[in-house]
């Protein structure tokens, strides 16, 4: 501990004021850049969006018009399948961690695994799925894309499920068990019900996260200028379309890429806002 000694107030107050000004300014700078990004995406995206954007297949370079209807369908399909795999597996792992794995070695090992997969760059997940699903078959496929999205989603869902279930007081579980209810009923009917809002929020956030993913789809679903007739083939999707079109030298294509960016951004923000509203309505 430093000895107590009188210090003049003026330098301290000046230092305080300087920090306050710097902090406000820095916040303004940060917020300025972030609003700049939003503004440009909205401005350039709105210009690209019209009816054919939603209803037509991509046009060849140089010809105006064309849309990304196939990519919208492909992204939706892969997100839905990815969610259908990722949510149950993630939820069950979360249930294991919260209900059975609190104080044993397997539980902490799984928790470690969840953290590791959560921290793996998504491009590595894409690479992994490429080695197990694309390379053996010899061609890219929408199913591989969906699987990589599921793997990215899994740890997020597992973590939120565990966190939310742990918030449910043990006395609730014990009362139900004392009444003779089996474990699965206690978890399914009592604990889930108490943790429902939090879990729904977590899942919506996880869906939001995978619907904007690009890197894992590059190696799995790739892209395609056609309708996704079967997910066993390379499948068109919005994010890889943005990547390909933005890197192309054609102004028409770059325009479409802005439109697709706006679409993805709005979808992700809507999912996030509805997740937040879901929690707010319940906790108040």
């Amino acid at each position: 501990m430093r000895a107590l000694r009188p210090r003049p107030a003026a330098p301290r107050k000046i230092a305080d004021l300087a920090v306050k000004i710097a902090s406000s300014l820095a916040s303004l700078i940060g917020i300025f850049f972030l609003s700049w990004i939003l503004w440009e995406v909205i401005r350039k995206g709105v210009a690209a969006i019209n009816w054919s954007f939603f209803s037509q297949l991509p046009a060849p370079p140089g010809t105006p018009g064309g849309g990304v209807a196939n990519a919208i369908v492909g992204t939706l399909a892969m997100t839905v399948i990815g969610t259908a795999i990722g949510v149950p597996v993630g939820m069950f792992s979360g249930v294991y961690l919260a209900e059975f794995g609190q104080h044993n070695r397997f539980g902490s090992l799984v928790r470690f695994g969840v953290n590791v997969i959560m921290g793996i760059p998504s491009i590595i997940v894409g690479l992994f799925v490429y080695t197990i699903m694309v390379k053996p078959v010899g061609h890219f496929s929408g199913y591989a894309g969906a699987l990589s999205l599921a793997i990215i989603m899994l740890p997020v869902v597992a973590r939120t499920t565990e966190d939310m279930l742990l918030l449910v007081p043990d006395s609730l579980r014990e009362s139900a068990l004392a009444l003779g209810a089996p474990r699965w009923k206690v978890t399914g009917n009592i604990v889930f019900r108490a943790a429902r809002t939090g879990m729904i929020t977590g899942m919506l956030l996880a869906v939001a996260r995978i619907s904007g993913e690009t890197a894992p789809l590059l190696f799995t679903a790739l892209n395609s200028p056609y309708w996704p007739n079967s997910l066993g083939q390379p499948t068109a999707n919005l994010t890889v379309t943005i990547f390909n079109y933005a890197m192309s030298p054609f102004a028409d294509w770059q325009q479409i890429a802005w439109g697709a960016s706006l679409l993805i951004m709005v979808a992700v923000l809507m999912l996030n806002i509805s997740a937040r509203l879901a929690t707010k309505g319940k906790t108040r």
Binding site: R12, D16, V19, A22, S23, A26, S27, I29, G30, I31, L34, W36, I37, L38, E40, V41, P88, F92, S93, F100, F106, L109, V110, N115, V116, I117, G119, I120, P121, S122, I123, I124, L127, F128, T131, I132, K135, L154, P155, P182, R183, W184, R209, S211, G212, E213, T214, A215, L218, T239, I242, F243, A246, M247, A257, W258, S261, M265, L269, N272
Partner: protein, 314 residues
Amino acid sequence: MSEATSHYQSEKRADTVFKAVMTASAGLVLLIMIAILIELTHHSQLSLHKFGFGFLFSSAWNPVSGQFGALSSIFGTVVSTVIAMLLAVPLGLVIALFLVELAPPWLSTIVGNAIELLAAIPSIIYGMWGLFVFAPFLADHIQPLLGKTLGFLPLFKGAPMGIGMLTAGIILALMILPFVAAVMRDVFRMTPAVVKEAGYGMGATTWEVTSHVTVRYGLSGLLGAVFLGLGRAIGETMAITFVIGNNHNISASLFAAGNSIASTLANEFTEASEPLYLSALVELGLVLFLLSLFVQLAAQWWLKRIKLGIGRGT
């Protein structure tokens, strides 16, 4: 009686099945983690055998002659991450400070929500903005200025092209900024009001309370936020791929085009037709995987140590 017993029996069986399914799902998580390591190692065999450890230290990258080295990609990943952390951590800290200590509650709520939403925006959006809006802006306004004033440093030499390492680092910083700021704000909020009020009661200024009380109280959480940001920055792909320039060169100048592990993968993977080329790219992926694993282990070890030392967690 027997009916009740059989009912009890069947519920007991259902419970066994329930526990088995949950455990199997949890096991699947571990299986995936191990499978990623095995698959990446297995598919990079060719390159591992041919180049050995030299792969990490060679800057050669020539698909035609079959010479591959990871040095330029690792260099780019490190440099862009360092730039991003240097910008995003202090900025995130002061934004969190602003939100918790300075802003009136209504402003804090609005800005706080906005920042959380921005943290959710996919990286490809940042990439688009970086390529079409920010890179030209940098090339026209900022880079010539830097070149004129600080051009004597090797860091800021060269033609202002907009695309390059500096741009990639800044975009990366903007991408992790909302995330870092949001986590740090939550950490600041956890400081009990009593502790802060004690500081104010002794006549401390806002800054003194922040630096001596709030920051110290939440130190482990703040470091956690830094590590989380670092983990994101290291593997970030799309935001960087758009603006880094994709060039296998190591240059001292931040204006020069470069590449990162993730951007090399994103750019070249679908073009790689040679088995050796593909294998080298998978090995790059393996390096990135191990790098992010290392960051994570370091973070967890560090957090545990600090928790033990201070005696409380966040």
